[in-house]
């Protein structure tokens, strides 16, 4: 089936550094998402993105977070600067509008560890 790829699968950085998480969404999808999952807990919505703009964001999407998708490239989540509480697995997802196609397809996540 459709695949969303996330690079890297693991990232370890020091607190205060910048990190960029990369997502290669399903090729014909138009909506893009980031979710955050702290170990053992539920997935929580961060942000969705369409037509070059943030459509909706949650309170977890702090000012230090930003997303973008320059034409034809990865959909990225940047955290600058990072904090200890940013340690989590970040999942990217994509979807296309309309009926059954609104199924969200998730990547396998990037495990971020902030030391």
């Amino acid at each position: 089936g459709p695949k969303v790829l996330q690079i890297p699968s693991h990232q370890i950085i020091d607190m205060g550094q910048m990190v960029t998480l990369n997502c290669d969404p399903v090729s014909n999808h138009l909506y893009f998402y980031w979710y955050k999952q702290i170990l053992g807990q539920q997935m929580e919505f961060l942000v969705n993105f369409y037509n070059g703009k943030v459509m909706e964001k949650s309170k977890l999407f702090k000012d230090q977070f930003s997303v973008e998708r320059p034409d034809g490239s990865y959909f990225t989540l940047k955290i600058q600067p990072t904090a200890l509480e940013d340690s989590a697995v970040y999942f990217c997802a994509s979807s296309s509008p309309g009926g059954e196609a609104e199924t969200l397809y998730f990547g396998s996540g990037t495990r971020l560890t902030v030391l």
Binding site: Q42, M43, E100, L104, G109
Partner: protein, 112 residues
Amino acid sequence: GDQVEQSPSALSLHEGTDSALRCNFTTTMRSVQWFRQNSRGSLISLFYLASGTKENGRLKSAFDSKERRYSTLHIRDAQLEDSGTYFCAAEAGGGSGNKLIFGTGTLLSVKP
């Protein structure tokens, strides 16, 4: 805010048995999606429902079409490979794009 209540939180089954997971929503939802997360953390989409029921092999899911406030996932003839954490996720609609609200998950363990 909108909440998704998932039960049970953990479930242990013997191979060959049947069971069901349930998600209740505190408000009317537009659609529901069920996922299985494996031990490596990968999230696999099982079903997307805007109404009614869907079946795929030993799995069957239903979304209450009247009040749209609960969904179930039935597992028939459980196998070892069904083990994992199952999440339901619902979309309230009226927002921008498909913002999913996840349940807290059901940790399923299938034993020989």
